[in-house]
């Protein structure tokens, strides 16, 4: 009934479904966790009144609420970035990891962890507890710019060159990370897992404060690129004929991705998979137009990440599973099912 003639779902019913799912997940995320809170206390805190458990307001407002918001933003920005890159490269395998932005961001963070005591001591002194996120953000942005410069040398930017540059940058960043791991002490080695597995376990209002502005900006700017990206689907030469400047479109998309993913990695470490899978999911259900794919990716990506995080923190309570693990556990089989249902293209 809600599918149209081509077998796709209508936009308005889909929007209603996705927004309701997001609302349900939001409620579940804020009301569930290892610490038991009564429904009455949750309602009292949300209404701004005193709860019977003195810790209730702290658990809800200082821990679960920022964690939900941060998780939603990270999921949204990673999915939007994935959609942008898949459109730009016309390659279904593209995701924020591809052009090296995630690797660059985590390399910078790992460098600060391992070299903070020696060569990068000044960096620590300058930024204090912000040293890691600031480094991750700068690392991500620098990688994007580098990839861009390499691909842009002939006066024109070749998407294939950018893709190859990304692979090379990933290899170099991976080797540098490996080298730093080799020199890391036992203690440092263990704090590196945050940057390779991803976590929302320390999310608070501070993380939200530095990460959110960049992520919100990236999510809001992305839809402006929808029409030119639709033109990209028809081939790069068509973009110019339709009145867009291909180079500007590419530059804008790359910057948005660098900004968003750099900020996401800075506050939550490396969370893979969501950026690759969510745009595919949306395209399967609603068609390939970026005007639909971009906003829906944001909503679905945010919802999916928060759902995965809610599960990750209750299944092995009182301990927590790494969010990246949970994400792959839920998303992997789901994605495979989607692929098997799809007709051969």
């Amino acid at each position: 009934m809600i599918r149209d003639a081509t077998g796709r779902f209508g936009y308005t019913p889909s929007l209603v479904v996705v927004v309701s799912a997001a609302a349900v997940v939001a409620l579940v995320s804020v009301s569930s966790g290892a610490y038991p809170l009564s429904v009455a206390d949750i309602l009292r805190v949300l209404a701004g009144r005193d709860a019977s458990d003195p810790v209730a307001s702290m658990v809800l407002l200082d821990v679960r609420l920022p964690r939900f918001l941060l998780g939603f933003l990270v999921g949204a920005v990673l999915s939007v970035s994935g959609a942008l890159l898949q459109g730009l490269f016309r390659n279904p395998l593209a995701d924020p990891g591809l052009i090296g932005v995630s690797a660059g961001a985590s390399l910078a963070a790992i460098a600060v962890i391992v070299l903070g005591g020696t060569w990068l001591g000044g960096w620590l002194a300058l930024f204090g507890e912000w040293a890691l996120p600031v480094a991750a953000f700068l690392g991500g942005s620098a990688t994007v710019l580098l990839a861009w410069r390499i691909a842009h040398r002939a006066g024109q930017s070749a998407v294939a060159t950018l893709l190859l540059a990304g692979i090379a940058i990933n290899a170099v960043a991976g080797a540098a990370t490996g080298l730093l791991t080799f020199y890391a002490t036992d203690d440092e080695l263990r704090s590196l897992t945050f940057w390779t597995m991803g976590s929302l376990g320390h999310a608070g209002w501070d993380e939200l404060l530095i990460g959110a502005p960049f992520m919100v900006l990236a999510i809001l700017v992305a839809p402006w690129l929808a029409r030119p990206l639709d033109a990209f689907l028809l081939g790069e030469s068509v973009v110019g004929h339709l009145g867009y400047r291909p180079d500007r479109v590419k530059k804008a998309a790359i910057l948005v991705v660098g900004l968003g993913v750099g900020a996401a990695v800075a506050v939550s470490g490396l969370i893979g998979f969501v950026g690759l899978v969510v745009p595919h999911l949306v395209r399967q259900l609603l068609g390939a137009s970026h005007r639909v794919v971009l906003p829906f990716s944001a909503l679905v990506g945010g919802t999916l990440l928060v759902a995965a995080d809610s599960l990750a923190r209750v299944v092995v309570a009182p301990a927590e599973l790494p969010i990246g693990l949970m994400m792959a556990l839920i998303g992997g089989p789901f994605f495979l099912g989607l692929l098997m249902r799809r007709k051969v293209m």
């Binding site: 290892a34 702290m58 200082d62 036992d186 263990r190 923190r313």
Partner: protein
């Protein structure tokens, strides 16, 4: 009956209530957990972290995860009065939050010498409101440590020891400087055969042959993990053939907890006597 018991129960409970000793305790560090058990205070433990695997009774306690990734809600859900952990605990943010939620969070420094290990036992005793029990344990351990150290310092020359860590099926790491392994060797008057390397590094088979140690110590993270058949280089070393070798549990050797005298004695026992050291020199 109840009437007669009433004052008695009150008399027993009252001192505890007045002193407000922490009754629900979580330990997040294998060695600290061992200390709590050695003090006989394990009844107060409501949860431990995943590095706490000894004594085996810890298996029945809820696990709050790894001490370097402590969850806020998970710890709080156990309603602890006190969380005792080491300076490796992370993320710091969650420790701060626990403090704000009314949990007493105590972060003890790492103990990489017999003195520091004993001081840590005293700290745990103070935190649990049982300094007397801690003092008894410290005195007992001190005597054993002195006995091992007397025997160790009787050697004319400090032996060179190759210390390795077996952590996976094929992964064996050499313990370099600045490690608990090096600290344990120092405690028994021995030198690390691997110098100029910081931390634990993947073992290089040629470097093993070149190190020419007087004794070999291998710490396993699970019993029976180390298989000498896959390390022919080690088997060819004179120290290995002469029996100057020890394969033992890594938590026992590297924990610097209440089993430290045991660990020191075990390592000290496999050191060559002076005569053999002299042979080796000629």
């Amino acid at each position: 009956m109840m009437f007669r018991l009433g004052p008695f129960v009150l008399a027993v409970l009252l001192p505890a209530l007045v002193q407000a000793d922490p009754l629900r305790v979580i330990t997040a560090d294998g060695a600290i957990t061992e200390i709590v058990y050695q003090l006989g205070m394990e009844a107060r433990l409501v949860a431990v972290d995943t590095t706490s695997g000894y004594p085996p009774a810890t298996q029945s306690l809820p696990k709050i995860g790894y001490l370097r990734a402590l969850p806020f809600e998970g710890v709080l859900a156990m309603k602890p009065d006190l969380l005792i952990t080491s300076e490796q605990a992370a993320p710091k943010k969650n420790l701060d939050r626990l403090t704000r939620a009314g949990v007493m969070v105590e972060t003890l420094p790492s103990a990489w010498s017999p003195e520091a290990a004993l001081a840590r036992i005293r700290s745990v005793g103070d935190l649990l409101g049982e300094p007397g029990r801690a003092a008894l344990l410290v005195t007992a351990l001190e005597t054993e440590i002195r006995r091992v150290q007397r025997s160790a310092s009787a050697r004319e020359r400090r032996p060179k020891v190759l210390f390795m860590l077996a952590a996976g099926d094929h992964s064996v790491m050499l313990a370099g400087e600045g490690t608990a392994a090096s600290a344990l060797l120092e405690a028994v008057n021995a030198d690390n055969a691997v110098s100029g390397v910081m931390g634990y590094k993947p073992a290089n088979r040629e470097a093993i042959l070149a190190s020419q140690p007087d004794a070999i110590v291998i710490a396993e993270s699970t019993p029976g993990q180390f298989d000498i058949d896959s390390w022919p280089e080690l088997a060819r070393l004179q120290a290995w053939q002469a029996g100057h070798r020890l394969v033992a549990d890594s938590m026992l050797l590297l924990g610097f907890g209440p089993r430290l005298p045991q660990a020191m004695a075990a390592v000290n026992r496999v050191m060559p006597s002076d005569a053999r050291v002299a042979d080796h020199d000629s």
